[in-house]
Amino acid sequence: MKRQVRSKYLGGARALILHRPHLNVLALARQLRAIGLVVDEAWPELGAQALATDFIFFDADMGYDGQFPWPAGEAPMPMIAMIGSEAPGRIEWSLQIGAHAQLLKPITGSGVYSAVLIARDAFDRQRAQAAEIADLRRRLDGRRAVVRAVMLLMQMGKSEADAYGQLRQMAMSWQISFEDAALRVVARYAAEGGDDQRNRG
């Protein structure tokens, strides 16, 4: 797991600059160290140290697919693009890779601190939204299971109200959610080889 940045003010956080040796790297590293970060450099391979870093600055001009050991757009830390050529193709590539913020070359001290904070905020929001979407999807799937479970119970002669009542009873006695109880009912009924309802929604 990625180490979390504990200090609100970034003291001791790690930054990795993925860029060939260059004056831009010197200027960026100098500013990051002034802000209080520990700085490493890498090019062209990111190396295993990438997984233990808190921020990645990557070269948008000479960077290429396959430099990152995770699927495009799924970096486990904030990513900041170092952009020289503002060609649409390079910006598109930076976005595909998953840039959360950008710095324009030539890099001076100004803009570095705000890029770090903006990238961290965008990354945190993206991650929170992804978790919320996954939770909503899970609950949506659960609602489908509830409908199927109620229909199965009704086929056994219960009224709709009684079917819901039985599901609620099961959830309480098994100490699981209503949706999970429905999933169990659906799975058990299918396993018992009754009228296979699995393709019905």
Partner: protein
């Protein structure tokens, strides 16, 4: 304030030029932007382009400092900035010779909360100094278990301070942190002084008025209203030690004096031709008060109160390294300061 900076810089130039032991001779090139924010960049450019000067001492506000940075970058100059500011900057073109928050605000709160309590009222001007100082103060106070009873701002120059005074009277805080500037600050401090004369709950003993940037420069407009005010800074008049035994009028004067003498020391250290060295090389391995990583300085941190028309030391916290991004676990001699996290 700008006059104090100029006085300090000119005194230091005279001192350097009179020092037979220093192989450095300075000439001054002066430009006065008269406080007009838009004039700072062009005038700084004029100095760097039309003269051989590479080092500029000056600027009072953060706005003016930010205005000259592009000129410094373009024409390879260095600014020595001798005023307290709100931190969160470390330009490779600027040397900061006065205090940043871990050298003024945080020690001040660290002293004030145990001494007076944690119920605080915050004031400020609608400007980066007021906003940032109060943001950091609020965070520090809340983390210490305290409460911010009110936080009010005035536009720069505004003097309608009645609502602030009313709110302070009603909420009765343990102390007030004043980050108003200029005319607003004077009006507010006079009104608060008047309140303290009629209501004993607001005397300096019961509910002191604190600020991070009050110096002797502001005594004349304040008059009797200065009495009892508490401030934090690297120097107060009559306290020798910083920048030798010289008696400066204020810390602004001392900080610009220190900027010029430190520059002279660096040039002498590196020898002939060093006036053309890039700043990073000028600072490398030369020791001294400037931290080569952040360009901030090691400064005394002193908390003092105005008593009988002059600052008296309440607490001297020793030398503290400037930490503009509050990312280093720097302590003070009196009490180790926590990094606010």
């Amino acid at each position: 304030m700008s006059k104090a900076s100029l006085t300090g810089a000119l005194a230091a130039i005279d001192a350097v030029n009179a020092d037979a032991g220093l192989p450095v001779y300075f000439t001054s090139v002066q430009r006065d932007p008269c406080g007009n924010a838009d004039a700072y960049g062009p005038l700084c450019e004029e100095i760097l382009r039309d003269s051989s000067a590479r080092h500029v001492v000056g600027c009072v506000t953060s706005l003016s400092r930010k205005e000259v940075i592009p000129s410094l970058e373009k024409l390879d100059g260095t600014l020595w900035y001798p005023l307290p500011y709100e931190g969160f900057e470390a330009s490779d073109r600027v040397i900061y010779t006065h205090a940043c928050p871990n050298q003024h605000l945080l020690p001040l709160l660290d002293w004030a909360m145990p001494a007076h309590g944690r119920r605080v009222y915050l004031t400020g001007s609608n400007y980066i100094w007021g906003w940032e100082i109060n943001r950091l103060a609020r965070m520090t106070i809340v983390e210490a278990g305290g409460v911010v009873l009110g936080e009010r701002y005035l536009p720069i120059g505004a003097t309608d301070v009645e609502r602030m005074i009313d709110e302070i009277r009603v909420s009765c805080p343990d102390f007030v942190l004043n980050s108003l500037v200029g005319a607003s600050s004077y009006a507010f401090l006079r009104a608060y002084h008047a309140l303290s004369l009629t209501d004993p709950r607001f005397t300096p003993e019961r509910c002191p008025m604190l600020s991070c940037n009050l110096t002797e420069c502001e005594f004349p407009p304040l008059g009797a209203a200065a009495e009892g005010l508490i401030s934090a800074g690297p120097y107060f008049r009559g306290i020798s030690g910083w920048q030798g035994q010289i008696d400066f009028g204020s810390s602004h004067e001392a900080a610009s004096y220190g900027a010029v003498t430190e520059l002279a020391r660096l040039l002498a250290h590196h020898g002939p031709g060093s006036e053309h060295l890039p700043l990073a090389q000028l600072l490398a391995g030369a020791g001294g008060m400037v931290d080569a990583g952040t360009h901030h300085t090691r400064l005394p941190v002193i908390i003092a109160q105005v008593r009988n028309g002059a600052f008296e030391v309440i607490q001297n916290r020793g030398i503290v390294v400037g930490d503009p991004f509050l990312s280093r676990d720097v302590g003070t001699a009196a009490t180790p300061l926590r990094v606010v996290s």
